[in-house]
Amino acid sequence: MNHPGQTNLREEDLHAYVDGRLDAAARQAVETWLASHPQDAARVQAYRQQNQLLHSLFDPALAEPLPPALQAASRRRRRYVPAAMAAALAWMTLGGSGGWLLHAYYQTGETGLSIATLPQRAAIAHVVYTPEVLHPVEVDAQQETHLAAWLSKRLGTTLRIPHLQTVGYDLVGGRLLPDRDRPAAQFMYQDASGRRLTLYARLQNGTAREPTAFRYSLENKVAVFYWVDGDVGYALSGEIDKAQLLQAAEIAYRELNL
């Protein structure tokens, strides 16, 4: 640091002064030095001008629209589509839970879909769609009434969209999905940090209809609480801990039965 009376200005302090990285005392010391050393003062001025010119020259690049290649590159990251699809495919085709999934997949007779497929279907849909940034949903939350009406019509039952604000999640929107032989719906929620939950719903008719007790399943890293209420099977998925998810599931259940 330089102080009045000191004989030399350290080169480092001159640059830190240019870059605005000195505290008040050090800044004062540099200014005192510069007042009596015009050559250094000229350098300070020149280097500051360099910085200003760099900004004038290159700041416009900040505002330019992204070329398609960069959009694609960033979207790959943001959406994680290849990874998500690979995860979904691996699940469906490999052993372990995948084998179970395929087993459950075809274990549905005429009476309807086995409830065992519900958390897996929901978790796959969760993994595929939650990384989406540009198109996380087909219909967004601003058209909530339309979303509920549309998906109710497609699923053939009256769907309500639960609100999860009390646990910090806002509705993002929803989309229509294919389940094995019927449509399904997915509603997506997001908290302030961007963490997402999805609620999957499908008609759960026939003998697959179960009591409404919550069940828990960990599908890969996705936690799922699922239950059947009336003729609809619901599954709430999230990559959050079980207790938090249960809290959200309880809110969802209550909201659905208002």
Binding site: E11, E12, H15, A16, D19, R21, R43, A46, Y47, Q49, Q50, N51, L53, L54, H55, S56, L57, F58, D59, P60, A61, L62, A63, E64, L66, P67, A69, L70, A73, S74, R75, R76, R77, R78, Y80, A83, A84, A87, V127, T130, P131, V133, Q190, S193, G194, R195, R196, K221, G238, E239
Partner: protein
């Protein structure tokens, strides 16, 4: 895949700005950004949560840039003065226009290791410690390159001839 992974995309504009200044050509700069994003994607598990994502991305970009320099894919001194065409100069007074043109020319003739430091500090406004981490050199090296880089840049802008730096083909 976790929902709380931070968004790399918000850093793209600044990566583009730095790349543009570093390589001096808009399309090659965007190639560099794209390479950076793709490597960041593949290496994302190596990024430590809570650490500075932007600095990490700049580090990746710098490493790719250095590798490309070595591989001679990005000549440090372009052969022709295409910069004026690829870098749309912003509206400015005539004197500033001249200075900007001088700066573009000077930057292209500034050796890459100095250019990187001058840009990270002067344009991207990284702290000296951040610049040191991005470049993988000690802070003292950042300071000495900054001092020499600014000095050289000033000399180049003032019209110092640089025949020895110009490539001849």
């Amino acid at each position: 895949m976790t929902a709380d992974t931070p968004d790399i995309a918000v850093h793209i504009p600044r990566l583009r700005r730095y790349a543009r200044a570093l390589v001096g050509d808009a399309s090659r700069a965007d190639d560099l950004v794209q390479d950076t994003l793709e490597r960041a994607l593949r290496k994302f598990t190596l990024w430590r949560h809570g650490s500075d994502l932007r600095a990490w991305l700049f580090t990746i970009m710098h490493n790719i840039f250095i590798n490309q320099l070595r591989a001679n894919r990005l000549p440090s001194v372009p052969l022709d003065d295409t910069g004026e065409n690829t870098l749309a100069a912003p509206p400015a007074g005539q004197e500033q226009q001249l200075q900007i043109r001088d700066l573009m020319t000077a930057l292209r003739h500034l050796p890459a290791e100095f250019r990187a430091v001058v840009l990270l500090v002067g344009l991207e406004e990284l702290s000296y410690d951040e610049a040191a981490r991005v470049l993988g050199v000690p802070r003292g090296t950042v300071m000495s390159r900054l001092a020499r880089g600014r000095e050289k840049l000033q000399a180049l802008m003032a019209g110092e001839q640089v025949p020895t730096l110009r490539r001849v083909k």
